[in-house]
Amino acid sequence: MNESARIVTFKMDGREIGAREDETILQVATDNGIFIPTLCYLEGLSAMGGCRLCMVEVKETSKLVPSCVTYAREGMEVITNSERLAKYRIMLLELFFAERNHICAICVANGRCELQNLTVNLGMTHVHFPYFYPRVPVDASHERFVLDHNRCILCTRCVRVCAEIEGAHTLDVMTRGMDSRIITDLNQAWGSSVTCTRCGKCVNVCPTGALSEKGKAVADIAVKKQFLPYLTRMRRGKQ
């Protein structure tokens, strides 16, 4: 954070709000108790703006902006929830469900899944787009962890935590479009990775059941995300 950042005032959902100019709309909303749904965003990691759930309306333009990467500007008027946004957000959630094989009932993350929770929060009751049912594998070659592509939403939190926080950059993304896949090293089996430090950060940041610890049953994972804000805060202090 820039110490000399100016303070800007703007409107959010009709409320006058003051914020630092280097804060994103999402941060400001969170600080002010306004809920904006997110999936790829995670505090402590760089923002990638991929899930598009956090998009908000900015008055005076017809364009929607992703609030995780858009900064507060003097005098702007932000609307975080509207009929239009609610409609798009539900469609986006549905597209996630149609993309891979998300079968909540038999998922390790059942009950603790951010995707599943959002369906409740945003009121998604069913998927009205065709399902794809892709044949994607499960990598269980690692001694401690499992990577189940059926549950992956390609938010790349795992990729970012591995590169930015752990510094190993074991995980990355391969190919493109719907064929995009999280890989370890150069698309080797995770168990044979020489760069993986077995730290488990990726498992702890995964919003769904794509990454889990071995030996967990349905609805059995416990996610510890508190480490991330702590780590980033401590590192920032040192710089």
Partner: protein, 181 residues
């Protein structure tokens, strides 16, 4: 006022959703005073009757028989409720969608046959309804009026939903249901 005609149907699912319906316990009595259960796995009716007010369907559409039945129900029902994850998403039965039906049959009736019998396994003939290429949720086949996800839907939801419908309201299920669990 005549009683509301209710039907419950079990398609391609595990019957867990029907079990969950019973979990409304003594409220069942309350409901049954106001409705006629005209068709259900629990009653003796052989044919799905005409003029049903509300049909609650558990399970997805897996076979030609399911599809036929669902189309019949749709034609004879005013309010169709897609009840539980299998009906709403395909859920566990849809796990088979990544494989062809032929592979599936081979795996189930030939490769996985245990040592007893002649060891060869028997692929069922005409007596068993033929599988559709993929397991599909109800709304991909017919129009659905109410969606209640959950595996199974939480106990008491049936009561809430029926009560709302009885009183002429569309049940607002927001934050009451969820996929899985």
């Amino acid at each position: 006022m005549s009683k509301m005609k209710i039907a419950t149907v079990w398609l391609d699912g595990c019957s867990g959703c029907h079990m969950s319906m019973f979990d409304m316990d003594e409220k069942l009595i309350d409901i049954l005073e106001k409705v006629d259960l005209v068709y259900s796995p629990l009653v003796d009716a052989k044919e799905f009757p005409e003029g049903v007010d509300v049909t609650v369907i558990e399970g997805g559409v897996g076979s030609e028989e399911d599809k036929h039945m669902l189309e019949l129900i749709r034609a004879r029902t005013h309010m169709l409720v897609s009840y539980g994850d299998c009906a709403v998403t395909g859920n566990v039965p849809s796990l088979r969608n990544r494989f062809s039906v032929d592979d599936l049959i081979k795996r189930s009736y030939i490769e996985n046959v245990s040592a007893h019998g002649d060891g060869g396994g028997n692929v069922p003939g005409d007596a068993v309804p033929r599988l559709l290429p993929v397991e599909r949720p109800l709304h991909e086949v017919v129009r659905v009026d109410v969606f209640i996800p959950g595996c199974p839907p939480r106990p008491g939801l049936t009561y809430f939903m029926l009560k709302e419908l009885l009183e002429g309201r569309m049940p607002d299920l927001k934050e009451k249901t969820r996929f899985g669990l």
